[in-house]
Symmetry: D2
Subunit: 157 residues, 4 copies
């Protein structure tokens, strides 16, 4: 097996680790959010417009915008975590910069610094309509890696 093949497999493993976890997030399904892409240190999540996601003026609610931003950042960090660990959000901060409207929102989580314990991500959310893509929110997030606590074990149980 060549080094290149091995890396491709690792990439597939990483992606399925992320997608498995994402599918266990009841909230993402409830909001209609889906993973658009997974790469090392970067994850895109899309969420089509629905009346169920709105604030009082009919835009996407800041809470819905933040939810996919938080998940995109969390999974961006998770792509770089060692197997058998899980991810928790320590905190995040988000600026809502423009009315969150569009056919769908796309959140981009990107790792800025990945440490053994803490990971820092940048969060961006775009409102997309056809070819038009507007930055509607930007944030910054701190994650913690829980070593030796596999992501697939339910903590609620």
């Amino acid at each position: 097996m060549t080094e290149k093949t091995k890396q491709a497999e690792d990439g597939a493993t990483m992606e399925s680790r992320v997608r498995d976890s994402f599918e266990r997030q009841g909230l993402m399904r409830h909001l209609g959010a889906v993973i658009a892409s997974v790469a090392p240190g970067m994850v895109h999540i899309r969420m089509p417009y629905r009346q169920e996601l709105t604030q009082q003026h009919g835009f996407f609610h800041a809470g819905a915008t933040s939810a996919i931003a938080d998940s995109a950042g969390g999974y961006a960090g998770f792509t770089l975590f060692p197997p058998g660990s899980s991810v928790l959000t320590v905190e995040f901060k988000i600026n809502l910069m423009a009315p969150a409207r569009g056919e769908y929102l796309e959140a981009v989580g990107k790792v800025i610094r990945s440490g053994r314990t803490l990971t820092i991500c940048q969060l961006e959310v775009f409102g997309v309509t056809g070819e038009e893509r507007t930055l509607v929110a930007m944030g910054q997030q701190t994650l913690i890696c829980m070593h030796g606590k596999p992501d697939s074990l339910s903590a609620q149980a």
Copy 2:
């Protein structure tokens, strides 16, 4: 009509202004969140546990926690805004301090400083089970008052 009666009516008007706006938030209904109380500068929102609100370990998702924190703060600020204005979240920051679990979450938004243009709120979210009440998240939020833009006009239309 005494001054006291007049204030009571104003309080009722304020509360109905908040509740009308809240009912137009599709996201809050979709998450099963309800207003528990409205007072000048302080709003409580409750959200019962459901599988549709979870992250990958079965706790409330940080996005759901943040969504009700954001709405609680926004409406806390809105109680102090003049009639005919509306409220937008400029930004917020939230620390997820403990696993968000319980029969329901209760978000408390509280105005710390109310200015003509900007309002600063403190956000707290508690996980509640029976008599047990645990602080699971704490945040800080900046709101902007949109003067002359009534809250009931749909901006999406």
Copy 3:
């Protein structure tokens, strides 16, 4: 030795641990900041007004305000850390709510949650003139406890 005497000694040890560390902060001395009080989970720092601390309008600069807020929170967390550990600021967020003026600023750092690895503090800064005390800034901070890295070892050397 009674239990009460032992606790009093522990308190004195804790306070001297904080004051020793504070004295090694070149910036605090340079800004003229002093510790006003140390208690478990809460530290007050004062900084008298000087032209050397101003922004362009003659108020205390947000950077000076933030610096003492950060130190107050950091040492509030440090009071609860085990001996032989040190404290680092992971991140903080601060709202500058009113012009920072007065004879002196007083920063109050207060621990909200103290975990083994991470500690969350609330930060408040007051502008004080005589009996008048105005909240000029409020923030939230995440600290990390570096176990087994005594605070007195210089990392720069």
Copy 4:
């Protein structure tokens, strides 16, 4: 006078407006910070290492790091403000990602969105030693434009 010449003059006016204001910031002088460059929507500030800027381990103090980050962002926003206005920091959030060490720190403030009232900036701080340049802090800032309040009027007086 060609359009190009006129723009060059405007650029010079903008830069002198920023530098004049910066020179009135007593704190920046006290910290030994200087403006390295001014461009529309982006300002660089440098601050050489001195014992007077340290925290307890000999690194740059988070408060010093934050102070130049705040000023860099504030002036980045200010470059785009109309004449006769002034700038105030509403809030900022900063992650301290690596030990802040080096011959000097360089803060970069960059406007992400400039609105009539509010401006959002990204803040980065690098520790620089010779050719080595390490990102030590990253933040996000909200500014407010005070229309009709010239920056040169002292508000403290």
